[in-house]
């Protein structure tokens, strides 16, 4: 039986847009606009979507690096105790900060140039009660070895490392307090393709060794297929499709996911797929279109799409749960 580790309910993150002499709020960027999502213990959940659709913001909202405007983020412990995180005082968050960590996208800004690796990693350890310096050095050294780097590297400065090495150090930082869930925010997309594969394999190895759960953010659906157990596709701050990763490729329900999948380059020349080219840009999250947010670009749009907002409904494909939000799906809805 699958157990949740994190339950998101109607999570919204709006950033105010200010303008004018008096700095008045003239609107909101609806970066995340009502996300319901369960993350199960031990799975790799992919979160895919075009640039600017709110993936990073959702990941940060889980860790409360940005405050959600609305909604609940509930952490479920191994003993199945539930804690709602967004209503906690800042200081009461500490026990949960240990469990939830993040690996960032940009290896160049993810390490502090003024400190050695040990210097920048030791403060979190100190804060969580690793008081002896020997012990802190041991923890960091062991983790560096776990990501195939040498212990001595902890006394070097970030500029002495390559992008792939920095990214591995970022992974060490996320791992140093023995977390349960790691948000990997495009953890490999800034790297060379050959190094990407290595870091991905490393991430999977670490997941097995440490019983981790990943929320794996990416804009590249070709990576997610082999890596993820389930995939959520996001468009303009909402989840439009959520299902087992195999079903996403074989039984795609949402036209947006179809377009993303058709854009993956295929090596097999015989298997010609018609690439669906999406016209226009992602609409501004300040005024999303009325009706289905995807309708101005959707190749299948009908009149109903312009007026009525589709909701995320549950279907079944291949015997698995499959959520999608589109008016034109002719499968029976499951309650």
């Amino acid at each position: 039986m699958k157990k949740e580790i994190l339950k998101l309910r109607d999570v919204k993150v709006y950033f105010p847009v200010k303008a004018g002499v008096f700095n008045r709020t003239v609107g909101h960027v609806m970066a995340v606009d009502g996300v319901d999502l369960d993350i199960y213990r031990g799975e790799v959940l992919g979160l895919a979507g075009e640039s600017g659709c709110g993936k990073t913001t959702l990941g940060k909202a889980i860790l409360r690096l940005v405050e959600p405007t609305n909604g609940e983020v509930t952490y479920v412990s191994k003993e199945e105790d539930e804690t709602e995180l967004t209503s906690l005082e800042k200081k009461d968050m500490d026990p949960f900060r240990k469990k939830l960590q993040i690996v960032f996208q940009d290896p160049h800004s993810s390490l502090n140039p003024s400190f050695t690796i040990f210097g920048s990693l030791q403060d979190p350890l100190k804060k969580f009660g690793v008081n002896s310096k020997e012990e802190r050095r041991k923890i960091i050294g062991d983790l560096l070895e776990a990501v195939n780097m040498r212990r001595e590297y902890m006394d070097r400065y970030p500029h002495e490392f390559s992008g792939g090495q920095r990214q591995r150090i970022g992974i060490v930082r996320a791992l140093c307090l023995d977390p349960e869930l790691i948000v990997c925010d495009e953890a490999v997309s800034a790297l060379d393709v050959s190094i990407q594969a290595q870091v991905l394999q490393l991430l999977m190895q670490l997941k097995k060794d440490n019983n981790l759960t990943y929320l794996f953010i990416t804009h590249d659906l070709s990576v997610t297929e082999y890596l993820c157990d389930r995939i959520a596709v996001m468009y303009l701050g909402r989840i439009v499709e959520l299902c087992d990763s195999e079903d996403l490729y074989k039984n795609t329900l949402h036209p947006y996911s179809e377009a993303l999948i058709s854009a993956i380059p295929v090596a097999d020349l015989d298997k010609k797929t018609k690439r669906i080219v999406l016209e226009g840009d992602v609409p501004s999250p300040v005024n999303p279109p009325k009706g289905c947010p995807f309708h101005p670009r959707c190749p299948k749009a009908k009149d109903i799409c312009k007026t009525e907002v589709p909701t995320l409904k549950k279907y079944s494909t291949n015997g698995n749960e499959h959520y999608a939000s589109c008016h034109l799906i002719d499968l029976p809805e499951i309650s």
């Binding site: 960032f104 920048s120 804060k127």
Partner: protein, 304 residues
């Protein structure tokens, strides 16, 4: 256990990493860039000489800067009195050396103290944002828009002339610039991912902004400290020349220059104001060279 292809790949990478020499350190790169800048090195040398000469003034000169000697009034430069003597027979060279102590103390001290105030406020407000930042910004604007000379006149008439009043005025009018610099750096640094990572551990605001972020904001602040040292020294000289600065009985570069107000002295006794004017100009120029050198060597966009 059999080695997988992944292990082998990592072994290869490890080997390559070990071969690569990591000898060039970032700090030494800044130093060597600075040393390559001739003007800056020249500035640093003269700067050091002037500071050392003022510090060890009693060793370099047998005279007392305050002692009036009516037998040797207004003597031209000679072997005994390198810069001559003034209207009351005091040795000008000695006075320039001792004046340097006070002038440099005022300049450097005001610059450092206003940097401390500016950084303390700017780092916190810039990182936290929100209403603290808005208030700090408005307050700094008020201080910066207030004309310095009026503030000096006001304070002098209220509390009287003193060295510390002058420094207090310099700090009051000077911290705003430092604050803005620190704040601007913090605004851009706080979006960096390492800062986000520290926040994800729930570290305290003080640890994050003063310990982890501040070192990355220091180099433009260092440049600004040197440049405002030069500016404060000039302002002190200007105010003392007008008789509004440090009380006239304390020798400072500005107070020594003060005698040039007398047209008779200006025309007939060049050594009473010429050498000290030159020392002020040279010192300020050197400090500016050092500042430029620091800026060029720490500016990341110019790093090769």
């Amino acid at each position: 256990m059999a080695k997988t292809s992944l292990d082998r790949k990592f072994d290869q990478i490890k080997k390559r990493e070990e071969e690569k020499s990591f000898s060039i350190k970032k700090r030494s790169r800044i130093v060597s860039k600075f040393l390559n800048n001739r003007l800056a090195v020249f500035g640093l040398i003269i700067f050091t000489i002037i500071i050392l000469a003022s510090l060890f003034a009693p060793l370099l000169s047998p005279y007392d800067p305050m002692r009036v000697d009516l037998r040797s009034m207004r003597q031209a430069p000679s072997f005994d009195h390198w810069f001559g003597t003034d209207s009351t027979g005091r040795d000008v060279f000695t006075r320039v050396l001792f004046g340097g102590r006070v002038s440099i103390f005022i300049g450097l001290g005001s610059a450092i103290l206003s940097a401390v105030v500016g950084i303390a406020v700017g780092c916190y407000a810039g990182y936290k944002g929100g209403w603290i930042d808005v208030i700090a910004l408005r307050v700094s604007e008020i201080f910066m828009s207030f004309p310095q000379i009026i503030l000096v006149l006001l304070l002098v008439s209220i509390t009287g002339q003193s060295l510390f009043n002058l420094m207090a005025i310099f700090i009051l009018t000077g911290w705003g610039g430092m604050y803005r610099l620190a704040r601007a750096r913090m605004l851009s640094l706080r979006e960096e991912e390492y800062v986000q990572a520290l926040r994800s551990f729930g570290l305290s605001t003080f640890t994050i902004c003063y310990k982890h972020m501040l070192p990355n904001a220091l180099s433009p602040i260092m440049v600004n400290i040197t440049l405002s040292t030069a500016m404060f020294i000039l302002t002190e000289a200007g105010l003392s020349f007008l008789g509004l600065g440090v009380p006239l009985n304390i020798p400072t570069w500005g107070n020594i220059l003060n005698v040039a107000q007398d047209i008779l002295i200006l025309q007939n006794y060049w050594w009473m104001w010429g050498p000290v004017g030159l020392v002020i100009s040279v010192f300020v120029l050197c400090v500016n060279f050092i500042g430029d050198g620091l800026r060029d060597s720490t500016d990341p966009s110019q790093q090769g």
